[in-house]
Every structure is written in C-alpha cells, then in structure tokens.
C-alpha cells in the first residue's frame, strides 16, 4: 500500500517536472526554427497526399523523405490530425514553405506531445532507483537543455526517438532482452542513425540472451531473429512489395554529403582537418608549392571533392572501419562479460564512437550519448563529474544551431540553468548525510569549547568538487564564447568569419574526446 502510494507520488513528481518543461516548450513556440520545420511539414504532405509507392520517389521539394519507413508512417499518422487542423499543411504543392501559425503551432505541439513517449522512457529507466537519485535523473533528462534546443527551438522529433531508445535500454537493464531487442529494431526503422549501437546490441543479445547451451541458445537466437525480421518486414515490406527497396536505401544514405557538416560537429575529424591545414601552412612557409584544395571546409559547402591538401582522403569506408575499431574494446568486453548493468554505458559508448569518427555527423548527435548517460550519472562521484563536464560541453556545442540574436539569451540561460541545476543536484547527492553527521560532531565539540571552527562549511563543500583541470576547461568555454560573440566581431570585424565556429568545434571536440576515453576506461574497469 505504502509502496503504491510512493509510486504514485513519484509519478506526480515526474509529471510535475514534465509540466514545467512543457510550459517552457510552449512559450518558445514563436522562436526561430530551422528548415527542418519545412522538411517535416513537407513529409507530412508527401505521406498524406501520395500513395505509399511514391513516398521515396517524390521530388516536389528539395526536402525529400530520407528517414526510414516507420518515421514515414509516423508522419502519416500525424498528417491525419494536421489535415483536420488546416488542410493546407498537408497539401503537396500549396503547402510548400507554408508558414502560417497553424502549421507552426501544429508541428511544434506535435513535438511537445510526442515527448510524452520520452518521459515514459525516462520513467521506465529510473523505476528501480532510490527516490533522490531518481529525482536527479529526471532533472537531468527531462530538463535537458540540449533536447529543448534541438527539438523545440531548432525543430526535430528527437525526444520521441529517445523514448524508444530509453525504453529498449530499460528492458535490457531489467534482463528482458527480447523486448529490448524488439524496441531497438523498431527504433532503427524510425531513424537509421541509431544503428551505430547495433554491434553492441548484437553482441550483447547474442551472449546474454542466446546463452544456455547450443540448443537453447539457437532457439533463442531464432526467436530474436524472427522478431527483428518481423519488425523490418513491417517497415520495409511494402516497399519491397513495390520493388523500391534500392530507392529507399539510396534516399536514406546520401553519402555525397561529405565528411563534415557545414558547421563541424566537435569530433575527431576537426583535429584531422586542422592537422592538414597546419602541415599545409608549414610547407608553404618552407617554400613548397601546395595546390589549394578543390573544396574548402571553411567555405561552408562541402562536396565530393577532396578537401585535404596533404593528408589522405577520407572515405565513408574509412570512417566505418574507424568506428568499428573504436567500438571493438567495448564489443570484446561485452562478449566476455555481458551484463545488464553495463548496457547503458556500452550503448552510450557506441554512440560516442559514432559521433567521434562517423561520416557527416551532426552536432545534434551528441545527444545520443548524453541522454542515456544521464541515467548512470548518479551512480558514482566520478560519473557525476564526467557528466557535469560532458553535458555542458554537448549543450554548448549546440549553440551554433541558434545563431539569431533573439534566441541568444534563451540558449545561454538554458545552459546556465542546467549547469547550476546539475551542480546543485550532484552536491546534494554527494554531500548528504555523511557531511551532515560529521559536521554535527565537529560543531558540537567546537561549541562546547567555544572554538569557532569553519569545519562545517569546509565539509559541506567537500562533496562535489571538480578538479582544477575540469574547472579551467569549463572556464575556457566561457572564454571561447566571449571571444566568438563579442571580442572577435569587435576586434577583427568581418575577417575570418569561420574562426568563432571553428573554435567552438575544436574546443568542444577536446571535451568529447576526453569523454570518449573516460567512458572506455569505465567500461573496462567496471565489472
């Protein structure tokens, strides 16, 4: 009875956090939105106006459908309501670049509502944690500034997709592997970018689910295989039936886009490019004649041509192999010792590898590992410190998404608020009880002997303290931001306009690289 009551209490608490987040999401509806809003609106139109057989062929707009079928079905589902709200939203031709408030409100609110799924995922992931820790995870995940920036300002449906991912992880962590595998397969049919974690899932499920002798293992393997095949059949079946599977695949993997996005995601390739530039610069200084590259990274447009001067060209295959290489220690570890407790970390690690070494990575993809890591951030002090650094860096790396002045205070306040919140949360968690009791003792003595000791404050502060390296690194974020926003335009004017963004990429890449190494060591150490 009491347990039941506390559970409903805690649901109320989660709903409360969610409600507060929702009010903020509602308030930012009139803010800037990227072309993704039009992209998704056009997808609503495609799926609503055209028969399924033409979805992946339509070229009415340059924003062709390039997500897997489940997402297209999801858009089809939403388009039913969109049609009720305003038929023009889903009109294939008249709807192009339709900017009426009905369209914007409908799409924004659909993101807000689909976030409910994310909340459910978070709830399931945290249902076994003690109440204080659970509270903290909710604050980290539900009030994540990254999600607000990407989904509710920039516009995308990441929250909804993370819902599937977190649900899948929660089932795996509980040992219900079949359900976890099923949900992950569904997720892959929503957005194929999540496939980076597929090797981890594969190895984990093979070793954890399909164990117990040859016969039982094989039986389970076939059950799991059947489930996954069924999911994929449900997604791609209709397109196979129409004989369009090649077209669907071609749309989903546009490798012509180049290694880096216009704004470089803070990953390994940033260092690679910088190294190339550095060597080229040195060589020209020493009098070598260096041909200028066919495509320039700083120009923003990145095509198929090699942008590198000295270093070898990077192909999608190179990145693929690098990701697998980076993943391999984690895969081996999972093979040797598949544990439900470590699955969250392994999945997050896989996404980190994909982010660092992947092809044409978006800065938004850093959320793929920051959100799952929130669940394990409360496990130990080291985790908390790491997460504190990582979440700040990842949110900061999203800043260039919102480049207009109007949203500037919003993104800064979101980040500041988040930093303060998690600082408070972690302090509260790690100073609890222990510090309290010791200070009580100390103060008792001090008062009895009339000795004024400042031990109390010292002990309370002793809970959650960052090292000087982390502190100065985070302070550097401030310096980079002040330089990019104020000093650079003031001192250099319009010269080198790419430098502020480049600085953000390089600086954040350092943090993410650190996080990658740290995550790897944690996975290796923990057993």
């Amino acid at each position: 009875m009491a347990k039941h009551e506390s559970r409903s209490m805690s649901i109320a608490q989660l709903l409360w956090y969610m409600g507060i987040a929702t009010t903020i999401k509602l308030l930012v509806i009139p803010s800037y939105h990227s072309t993704d809003l039009e992209v998704h609106r056009h997808w609503l139109a495609i799926t609503h106006s055209l028969p399924l057989s033409q979805w992946y062929f339509d070229e009415t707009s340059q924003w062709t459908l390039d997500y897997p079928p489940f997402f297209a079905y999801f858009q089809r589902f939403l388009s039913v309501f969109a049609h009720l709200v305003d038929p023009q939203i889903v009109h294939l031709h008249h709807g192009l670049n339709y900017k009426a408030s009905s369209a914007i409100y409908f799409q924004r609110i659909s993101v807000i509502v689909s976030d409910l799924f994310f909340m459910y995922g978070v709830y399931r992931c945290t249902s076994n944690l003690p109440s204080l820790k659970r509270n903290l995870v909710w604050i980290l995940a539900v009030w994540s500034p990254g999600l607000v920036i990407v989904d509710h300002l920039h516009f995308q449906y990441n929250g909804f997709l993370f819902g599937w991912l977190l649900l899948s992880i929660s089932f795996l962590a509980q040992g219900r592997d079949l359900m976890g595998g099923f949900l992950f397969a569904v997720l892959l049919c929503f957005k194929h970018l999540f496939a980076v974690a597929a090797p981890v899932y594969f190895v984990y499920l093979l070793r954890h689910y399909c164990r117990g002798g040859l016969v039982k293992g094989f039986a389970r393997l076939s059950v799991m295989g059947a489930v996954v095949v069924a999911v994929f059949a449900a997604a791609y079946g209709p397109f196979v039936y129409h004989g369009q599977i090649q077209q669907v695949i071609r749309r989903m993997f546009p490798f012509g886009r180049g290694l880096c996005h216009a704004y470089w995601a803070p990953n390994f390739w940033v260092f690679y490019i910088m190294l190339d530039k550095g060597i080229a610069f040195l060589l020209t200084k020493f009098g070598f004649n260096i041909p200028s590259p066919a495509a320039s990274f700083t120009g923003g447009l990145v095509g198929d041509a090699s942008p590198f001067v000295i270093l070898p060209q990077i192909t999608p295959m190179t990145t693929f192999i690098l990701v697998l290489l980076a993943l391999s220690p984690c895969l081996i570890k999972t093979w040797m010792d598949p544990r439900p407790r470590l699955i969250t970390r392994s999945v997050a690690y896989a996404y980190t590898c994909g982010f660092l070494f992947g092809w044409h990575v978006h800065e938004k993809a850093s959320l793929h590992f920051v959100i799952p890591l929130a669940i394990v951030a409360v496990e130990s002090m080291e985790d908390a410190k790491h997460y504190f650094m990582l979440s700040i860096v990842s949110s900061y790396s999203l800043f260039p998404l919102l480049y207009e002045a109007q949203e500037y205070p919003i993104k800064v306040l979101l980040l500041l608020l988040h930093s303060i919140l998690i600082w408070f949360c972690f302090s509260a968690q790690f100073t609890k009880n222990k510090a309290m009791k010791s200070t009580l003792q100390a103060d008792k003595k001090a008062a009895q002997f009339e000795l004024k000791g400042s031990s109390r404050t010292a002990a309370v502060n002793g809970g959650f303290v960052l090292g000087w390296l982390a502190k100065s690194y985070l302070f550097g974020v401030l310096v980079v931001e002040i330089w990019g926003q104020f000093l650079h335009p003031y001192l250099l004017g319009d010269k080198f306009p790419f430098v502020p963004l480049m600085l953000i990429s390089i600086y954040c890449a350092l943090g993410i690289l650190y996080s990658w190494i740290w995550q790897l060591t944690q996975i290796m150490i923990l057993s």
Binding site: Q13, I24, L27, P30, P409, N433, M436, L440, K444, F449
Partner: protein, 543 residues
C-alpha cells in the same frame, strides 16, 4: 554564561541538522535549498529570467497596428523624446513634442529611465529612437533591444528586491519554517504570471515601480523606515499608480512613529526624506511653478472618463445598472470616487495607526490597493498587478487566496491579452503558475489537505464564514468551470451584434464579484490581527 551560550548553540545546531535531515527525507526540494537561500534564489531567478525571455518572443501590444500602435510604441516614443529633447521640454507640447501622440504622462523617474534605455537603443539601433522618423518604428532588432531593456530593469530592480524581501521576511519569522517553503515563496513572487505577461508580453515597466515598492516594504519591515520612505517615493515617482499603496505606507509608518519616544522628530525625519527624494527627482521642473504644474497636469488624466474598457472595478461593473458617465459630470464623479476610495481604505488605515504590525502592514497594502483598484478614478485592467504584489508577499499566509485571485486577475486581463495575441503565453504562464503553486511538497499542495484547512480555520474564527463559502470545493469548482467556459467562448464565438461587449461584461462581472468578496475577507483578516496581539507584542512595538 559562556557555557550556557555554547550549549544553546549546540541545541540550535542539533535542531537545525534534525530539521535538515527531516527535510532531506521527505522533501523533494532538498537539492535546491541545501546550499542556502541565496543559492536557491539564483537558481529560481535564472528560471524566472528564462521564462521572461521566452515570453518576450511573443508579440507586444499594438504590433503592426498604425497609427497609434500600443504601449510598446508609447515607451519607445518616450525614449525618442527624452533622448532628443532637453528635460524641460519633455512634458511640454511643442512643435517637436506632440503630446497628443503618446505624450509622456508618467512621473520624471520614468522619463529618466526612458532616457537611459534610449541611450542603450541608440548605441545599437539609432534608427529606432531617431526624432520624428522613428514613429511607429518596428524591427527585429528594435523589438529585441526593447525587450532587453525590460529584462535589465527586472534584473536590476525587481529581482534584488525579491531577495531583500525574502531575507527580511524570513528574519521576521526568526528562521522558522521549511527552507523549501522559502524557495516556493521566491518562485511565486518571481513568476507572477500577470506581471510577466504585462511587462514582457504586453510591454511595460511595472517591474521597476513594483520592485521599488517591494524593497520599500522590506525596508520598513526591517525597521529601516527612512530607507523605506525613499524607496517608496522612487516607486511613486516612477508610476503614479504606486499611490495605491500610499494609505498603507502612510498609516503603518505613522503608527510606528507614534509609538516612538519622540513622534514629531520621527515624522519630520521621514517627511524630510520624502521631500528630499521628491526634490531630487523633480529637480528640472522646480525652477518655476508653471513647469511643475505642467508636469503634474500630465500625470493626472482627469479629462479621461472614470473608467476605460471593461475593468472589473466598482464603477465599471455598476455602470450596467447606473450609467455613471451620463448621469453625473466628470467633476462629481471624481469626488465620488475619491470619497469611496478613502472610505474603503479607512478601516485598514485605522487598524495600522492603532496597532502597526508587520503582518498588518502587508494586509494593509493589500487592502488599500484593492480599494484603489475597485473605487478610484481611471483604473485600468493592468492595475490589478498592484494588489497582486502584496498578496504574493503574503503567499505563505494566504496561499489559496493567492491562487484564486491570481486566477481572476489573469482572467480580468484576458480580453486585453487576447487583443495583444498573447493567448499562448497566457495559457503557458497560467499553467506554470498552477504547477508552481502545486509543487510537490509545497505549501500550495499542503493546504489543500483537509487537516491543515480545519486547523487554520479554527484559528481564525471570524473569517471562517467567508473562507468556507469562497473556498468551498463546490463553489470553487463551479467558478473554475464558468471561467473555463468563458475563456473558450471568448476565443471561439462572436458576441451578438446588439451587445458587442457582452462577453467582456460577463467576465468583468465574474471577476468583480470575486474581488469584492476578497476585499471584505482581507479587511476582516487585518482586523482579526488585533485580537491576536498580546500585550507582550505591544511592548515589543514600543521599542
């Protein structure tokens, strides 16, 4: 002696630690409050700032509606005037300052504030404050800069005032009560939806005058009466509407002075402060009688009617029965309204002169501002912000009245905000307020459990009837339903041609009925305080 003090300290510490441990067990807000009030204030104020910035994304009053636009244009125009003309010409009609187009009609402090903001605008967007040519100026950057001026004012004046008040209020209760309640109180004051909507949505600078008023309240509660009178004069000199609080300040400060050994000295000290502040603020207009009077005449809009639009006050509501504007001249209406206001203020003033007390003072502020709102001349819908301020200061005393009155205050401004296209912000902020009010483990959620309710009502027998009727679940539910339906009707339906303002009138009637009930309720609450004053308390007051 020393040892005794030491033991006392130990006991206090033990209590504190026990209390904190208790908190951390059941309190979901432990992480927020464990570092102290200042830290939780920092966190909450960042959130409050975020909400304000987000509301600033929405349209302002009179956007894209030439020729007169709205309050946004008025404020921008004042910046233009103060920036480009010498101070003596600010309030004077001239070839360069057409007073019929949003002439400056607030006291000089507003003009100075406009000047400072004008300088800010000029550095980044000179076009937006250029003389003449900037009329009706609307641009992306202009809107942004204007929004930021309100944010700066809020952060520089309102937020520190809240912190000051919260500290004083906590000291007043000698540190009793849960820390999370303090955080709740901060959030409730900072995230008052009406204030945010009017300042950051509709566009005004109420945060400045209300911030000064709140600081003045805090100063007088902490016995710094001279500081309080200076701060209150600043509020008064920013918006003449702050006079709504004048009776309360006057009676409370007078009551306190009378209890001093040398009342005359105290009174003259405060008087000197008031005159000094006024002299400094009004300095550019004191060189001649004409100049001062021309400013004064701008401040008192007696040529306007007794009410405008559909404000939920006595005159406007009763005009359904009595056509005040037709039956009486403006002159006599002015006298009526003055008499009504003074009469309704009087009980609470008398109470404060007789027995000035901290709590009584807060109730006094509430009562006098409600009287002004209901009965004074030329009241605007936005004036409901003034009673809401002392009510939010009393949030821990009167949580449910706060919820209820905020609901109707919001509702009474709904037609105005709907015209400004702020419905989305209205709904979001309303939801935010309700969520904050019912924060898990917060005072708002607690007082709904019947146990504490009974307890509270026993303590205040006299007000039992009013509160039992007003807060009866059935009555509350019915009125909530009514207002919900009215919201929907107002948004979706067109009124019959014969009565184009039918819905506004119904909204006004509903809100007025609640405001008048609460005026009685708060007045009786204030008088009840007298009974609770023991002789010991009275002795304290003598010091």
């Amino acid at each position: 002696m020393k040892k005794k003090r030491g033991m006392e300290k130990v006991k206090r510490l033990e209590d504190m630690v026990n209390a904190e441990n208790d908190d951390s067990e059941g309190d979901p807000w432990w992480w927020l409050v464990q570092k102290g009030i200042k830290h939780s204030f920092l966190c909450i104020s960042l959130f409050a700032l975020l909400v304000r910035v987000a509301v600033g994304l929405h349209p302002y009053s009179g956007a894209k509606t030439p020729p007169k636009y709205g309050d946004y244009e008025a404020q921008r125009h004042w910046m233009e005037i103060t920036l480009n003309l010498p101070a003596k010409d600010w309030y004077r009609n001239s070839s360069v300052n057409n007073l019929s187009y949003w002439g400056l009609d607030y006291p000089p402090l507003t003009a100075y504030q406009s000047y400072i903001h004008g300088v800010f605008l000029k550095t980044f967007d000179p076009d937006s404050v250029a003389l003449f040519t900037s009329r009706g100026h609307e641009s992306y950057l202009g809107k942004l800069l204007m929004r930021w001026t309100v944010l700066f004012s809020d952060v520089l004046i309102f937020f520190p005032a809240v912190l000051y008040f919260v500290f004083v209020y906590r000291a007043m209760q000698s540190g009793r009560g849960r820390k999370s309640d303090v955080a709740w109180h901060i959030a409730i004051i900072l995230l008052n939806p009406c204030l945010i909507l009017i300042d950051h949505g509709h566009f005004q600078y109420n945060c400045i005058s209300l911030g000064f008023t709140m600081a003045a309240v805090a100063a007088s509660l902490s016995q710094r009466d001279p500081v309080a009178s200076v701060l209150y004069c600043l509020a008064l000199n920013h918006k003449q509407m702050s006079a709504y609080f004048a009776p309360a300040f006057f009676s409370y400060l007078l009551g306190k002075c009378l209890r001093h050994k040398n009342p005359l000295l105290e009174v003259s000290k405060l008087g000197l402060m008031v005159i000094g502040t006024f002299a400094i603020v009004w300095w550019p207009y004191l060189h001649s009688k004409d100049a001062a009077f021309s400013v004064l005449s701008r401040l008192a809009p007696f040529e306007r009617g007794i009410y405008e639009d559909y404000v939920a006050n006595f005159w406007c509501t009763t005009s359904v029965l009595v056509k005040w504007k037709k039956v009486f001249t403006t002159q006599s209406l002015r006298i009526f309204s003055l008499a009504a206001t003074v009469l309704t203020c009087l009980p609470s003033m008398v109470q404060q002169v007789l027995a000035p007390s901290s709590k009584g003072f807060l109730y006094g502020l509430l009562n006098s501002s409600l009287s002004f709102y209901l009965f004074s001349f030329q009241v605007h819908e936005k004036s409901i912000l003034l009673p809401l301020l002392p009510l939010s200061l009393l949030a821990l005393e009167e949580p449910r009245s706060l919820l209820w009155l905020t609901h109707f205050a919001m509702f009474s401004m709904f037609p105005l905000l709907q015209r400004d296209k702020l419905v989305l912000a209205y709904m979001a902020l309303y939801a935010l307020f309700v969520l904050l009010y019912f924060a898990p483990g917060g005072p708002g959620g607690r007082c709904n459990s019947s146990k504490t309710l009974d307890h509270k009502q026993k303590a205040k027998k006299g007000t039992k009837f009013v509160s039992s009727v007003a807060f009866h679940p059935l009555v509350m539910g019915f009125l909530c339903l009514c207002s919900l339906i009215l919201h929907v009707i107002y948004l979706t339906m067109r009124p019959p041609k014969k009565y184009p303002f039918l819905f506004e009138a119904v909204i006004m009637l509903l809100c007025f009925s609640q405001f008048i009930i609460f005026t009685f309720y708060f007045n009786s609450k204030q008088w009840m305080l007298l009974k609770h004053l023991t002789s010991k308390d009275k002795q304290k007051k003598l010091i």
